[in-house]
Amino acid sequence: MRPDLIELVTHKSNAHIDPTLHIWGWEIALYLFLGGLTAGLLVLPALLGRARKDKPLSPWLQWMPLVGLLFISLGMGALFLDLEHKRSVWRFYLALRPSSPMSWGAWILLAVYPAGLLLSLASLDVDRRARASRISWIGDPATRIAAWSAARVGTIRWFAVAVGAGLGLYTGLLLGTLGARLQWSTALLGPLFLTGGLSTGAAFMLLFPLDNEDAHTLLRWDLRAIAVELALIGLMVVGFASGDAPSRLAAEALLGGAWTASFWSLVVVLGLLVPLTMEALELRGRVRMSPVTPVLILIGGLALRAILLAAGQESGFRLLP
């Protein structure tokens, strides 16, 4: 608002638009979180499998890409709930519009399913592959697909990494390309949501009993992801605070404004700094690994998306002179 404004009257009061935009609620926050988590459950098992060469992954990790498919299905369910014109949902798949991240995101979501399925089948060790083939109703095709996947495991891993990275990046760019919302007007949201997704994926996997080597590799990678996430958040805030008037308005929400307390306490301290410290101590063997750290990371990941989603909708050009 211009500083010398005395009175501003308008009768405009469209639902969910005025006086403050509120078009996306918990459904989109959950979808963005589950999208990032699925990205982690595709990329990390693929990279872990590559790092371990011919040694099979921990049993739980072999199924993680399939668990990712459950999560992304849940996320797509939330996305569907958010659509206002549900009977036109199929229209997403009649167009591919390069200027719309939501459009190429819809197509990436389709690629997630073969990537997750093939990566999981390719990651199964011999015993589990035999067990999968004994499931009577898919027995023979499952055996054949598993054998086909195992023979192309290298290619499938890179395919899963590419699709997972695309999915994680897209969840950030979905917001980051909507320049009318000052809080989202930064290209850093793409890498931030991707890194956050990898971190929540690692945290989710660390909730399961893994062998020592896998657990330590995941811890090491997660530590780096959290450090990168903190750096990206720092860059985002500095970028906003040192920018033009719209950027400074975006910075205000996180530096003294309505979202300051929840952002810094839930996301930065509880969701990033505490887990960073705990994981560093766990890696050095000073603290026993516990589910507390991964749970904090998951809560922080959800909070990051929910807070940025809400803060972004509140920030618009109407607040400027």
Partner: protein, 180 residues
């Protein structure tokens, strides 16, 4: 012949904020209760006793670089003849990306699920009439026409009067101009 560029010119010196434009739009376009495609802003600023009042009839700006068209995943939001931005209701999924991308918050979700907004009354313009808001305005505040036609009234007004657009810093090149 140059391509058409439909624009609206709002004379803030003539507007008395009677809101006839709002009612005409609601009646012409069957806009549901509680919603509006156009609205009036009454703004007073300055420091007493030096005050400045301005009334603006506002609507979708039909931006030349419309971010809503770029953000739409299905092509429902599109440019029509003369760079007018329209929404094909059947193609709209109600994902609301266009609403989030609009710096003017000019769109809303129609109770039937699709996204709705000002169309510059293209159904009337195509048969040679003015938009409903322009035709009803009792003070002649609102003018509509092809800015690429040098002989048109709007082109003359934009040549001879000082004007502004809302939030030029967005870079979207709006096509609703306010004479000051």
């Amino acid at each position: 012949m140059a391509r058409k560029r439909w624009v609206m010119v709002v004379d803030t010196r003539q507007c008395v904020a009677c809101k006839a434009c709002v009612l005409a739009c609601k009646a012409e376009n069957d806009v549901p209760d509680g919603y509006c495609r156009d609205w009036v802003v009454e703004e007073v600023h300055g420091e007493y006793p030096i005050l400045h009042a301005e009334n603006r009839s506002e609507r979708c700006n039909h931006c030349t670089r419309a971010p809503c068209v770029g953000a739409c995943p299905t092509g429902a939001s599109h440019f029509f003849d003369g760079r007018v931005v329209l929404v094909t209701h059947d193609k709209c999924t109600g994902c609301k990306a266009c609403i989030a991308s609009c710096p003017y918050d000019a769109r809303f979700v129609h109770p039937e699920g699709y996204v709705d907004k000002c169309t510059f009354c293209m159904h009337r313009v195509q048969r040679g009439d003015e938009p409903a808001c322009v035709s009803i305005c009792p003070t002649g505040t609102l003018r509509f026409g092809d800015a690429n036609d040098a002989q048109s009234e709007v082109a003359a007004l934009l040549r001879t009067r000082t004007w502004k657009v809302n939030h030029p810093e967005t870079g979207v090149e709006p096509n609703v101009f306010f004479l000051t």
